[in-house]
Amino acid sequence: MNGLSVGDLRVAFGSVTILHGVNVSAARGEWVGVIGPNGAGKSTLLRAIHGTVPSSGAVMFGGHDMGDLTGTARARLAAFVPQRPAAPPNMRVFDYVLLGRSPHISYLGVEGRRDISAADDALGSLGMVSFADRLLGELSGGEFQQVVLARALAQEASLLLLDEPTSALDIGHQLHVLGLIDRLRNKHDLTVLSAMHDLTLAAQFCDRLVLLSHGVVVTDGDPRDVLDAPLISQHYGATIRILDDGLGGVVVVPVRQNGHPADQ
């Protein structure tokens, strides 16, 4: 099956153009990270690919032209997780995960046995079966993020569009959740496109990075090539140093403009 291919994607809200003809691709099973400063258009790119904001251009996934599909058919192919998913506090975890089955259920229908077992399996894949009867309001940030992933998994879509999936988590939970995403994509052969804020983690987990700035793709390639100090500094408007972590990876360090306080 074919992966994701986005060609000349343009999005404008009124007279403001957010994306100026973006081209992005991801092979089947590949994890591509979209990086770039705030306002670069990362979230809009994910939304436009999923069709929740109007756009022009071509979005192909798995041999389908996403633009030709109904909302339900699109949702069976691609799952979108926003940066801050809604968490109705009194909703049971199991009911929440089951909502991921919506694209597989007819308009006025209710869940069948197949949907219930898919939700069970999704919770199982994330080791969250014991959470089924908990309420969303009782979960920690890390637990909720895993439940959100379980919902996306229950959707049984082979493209995951994640908008900064770990932005609300501490370092330990960031690593844990990103590790889970990596395991899930290997297990289920998922294609992942995620907007990423933490460049060090992006380099560690993504197969490829796309640097977006002012709605244009600046560069696209292996994380070690994309994370070039002058380039990143220029587009993020900050001094940045890229260090070798000694394990084959890189560490991205922001540097305070006026030197270290201890130097003054």
Partner: protein, 338 residues
């Protein structure tokens, strides 16, 4: 692994249905037996099972032609208002939304005021209130759309503007016809007065239609609780769901207020109390709201017509007077349970 039984989605439990039915049967019995002419419970049951001599002719007449229609009407109106309130709260993701949010009450109020002020035939009053309610909500929708954004906030604001405008016109008409002031006022505070089964039959089709459409959307309302963007990312046609549910709730509410006037609080308090006790799923909230809304309004009406008997209190006063403390009690208890 997977030795554990598969988990189940939240569903209406048989126990909850039994409790709801018990509430309705209890309220129904009290409402039909208590009044100026006392009807003994045991005799009424015997009469119901075929013993025609168990009640006097006068008692039987009162039961069939006066008490039962009124109790049934109260149950239907209470059920519809609670159901409409719950669905508005779901569609607008706003716990303070009530069935009057988009101008139903103001429109019905204006329609009724015009009909009463012009001394139209009694049959015209419900039709005028119904038409006023439907036109008001349609105008709110058109106004909300004309702004361009399709957000619920725009729609709510349009509803606020429409309600204020229509209330201003209604007050003007009311002040111009001071001779009918009392009658208009009484209508606005709500009353369940019936002439036989006429009112029940009049609104029944709208309530059945509205109630059915709302209940069929119970899963959709659960998806909508994730918000517009996530719901549409799950393939749900958010605009269509909103239009159908709001349309059904409006139709049912308009029919209910057309014969009962503006009864407040039921649409907010009943679904909330249910939500506090049962959790967030609309597949539980909707049916239970319908059941307890019915029971609540029957008891409120019973109170309204007995405390100052033979005079009647406006039922809107009773729903607020009983409803607010009851709601506070549920609020405290539910907090203790969590």
């Amino acid at each position: 692994m997977s030795a554990a039984a598969p988990d189940r989605p939240t569903r209406l439990t048989p126990r909850a249905v039994l409790v709801g039915l018990a509430a309705i049967v209890g309220a129904f019995s009290l409402g039909s037996l208590i009044g100026p002419v006392h009807i003994p419970f045991g005799m009424a049951i015997k009469w119901l099972f075929g013993s025609t001599t168990a009640l006097t002719d006068r008692q039987a007449d009162i039961l069939i032609a006066v008490r039962l229609p009124r109790v049934v009407l109260g149950g239907l109106v209470g059920s519809m208002l609670a159901l409409a309130g719950a669905s508005y709260q779901g569609v607008f993701r706003n716990p303070l939304a009530d069935p009057y949010l988009l101008g139903v009450a103001a429109g019905a109020g204006l329609g009724a005021t015009v009909a009463i002020s012009l001394r139209a035939a009694p049959a015209v009053l419900p039709a005028a209130a119904f038409a006023g309610a439907i036109i008001a909500v349609a105008a709110t929708y058109a106004l909300g759309r004309s702004v361009g954004q399709r957000s619920t906030t725009t729609l709510i604001l349009a509803g606020v503007a429409m309600a204020s405008f229509l209330t201003a016109v209604q007050t003007y008409v009311q002040q111009r016809h001071t001779d009918t002031l009392r009658e208009v006022y009484a209508w606005i505070l709500g009353r369940l007065s019936t002439s036989g089964w006429h009112e029940v039959l009049l609104i029944l089709p709208y309530l059945i239609f509205g109630g059915t459409v709302i209940l069929l959307h119970r899963r959709m309302l659960d998806v909508l609780s994730l918000g517009e963007e996530e719901a549409s990312a799950l393939g749900v046609p958010v605009q269509r769901v909103r239009l159908l549910v709001v349309g059904a709730a409006t139709l049912g509410t308009a029919a209910a207020v057309a014969v009962s006037g503006l009864i407040g609080f039921v649409g907010i308090i009943v679904p909330h109390a249910i939500r506090l006790v049962t959790g967030a799923s609309y597949r539980v909230i909707l049916p239970l709201s319908a059941m307890f809304g019915a029971a609540f309004l029957i008891v409120a009406d019973l109170t309204a017509r007995t405390v100052l008997s033979p005079a009647e209190l406006p039922i809107g006063v009773v729903t607020a007077f009983l409803g607010a403390p009851f709601f506070m009690l549920v609020l405290r208890t539910a907090k203790g349970l969590r």
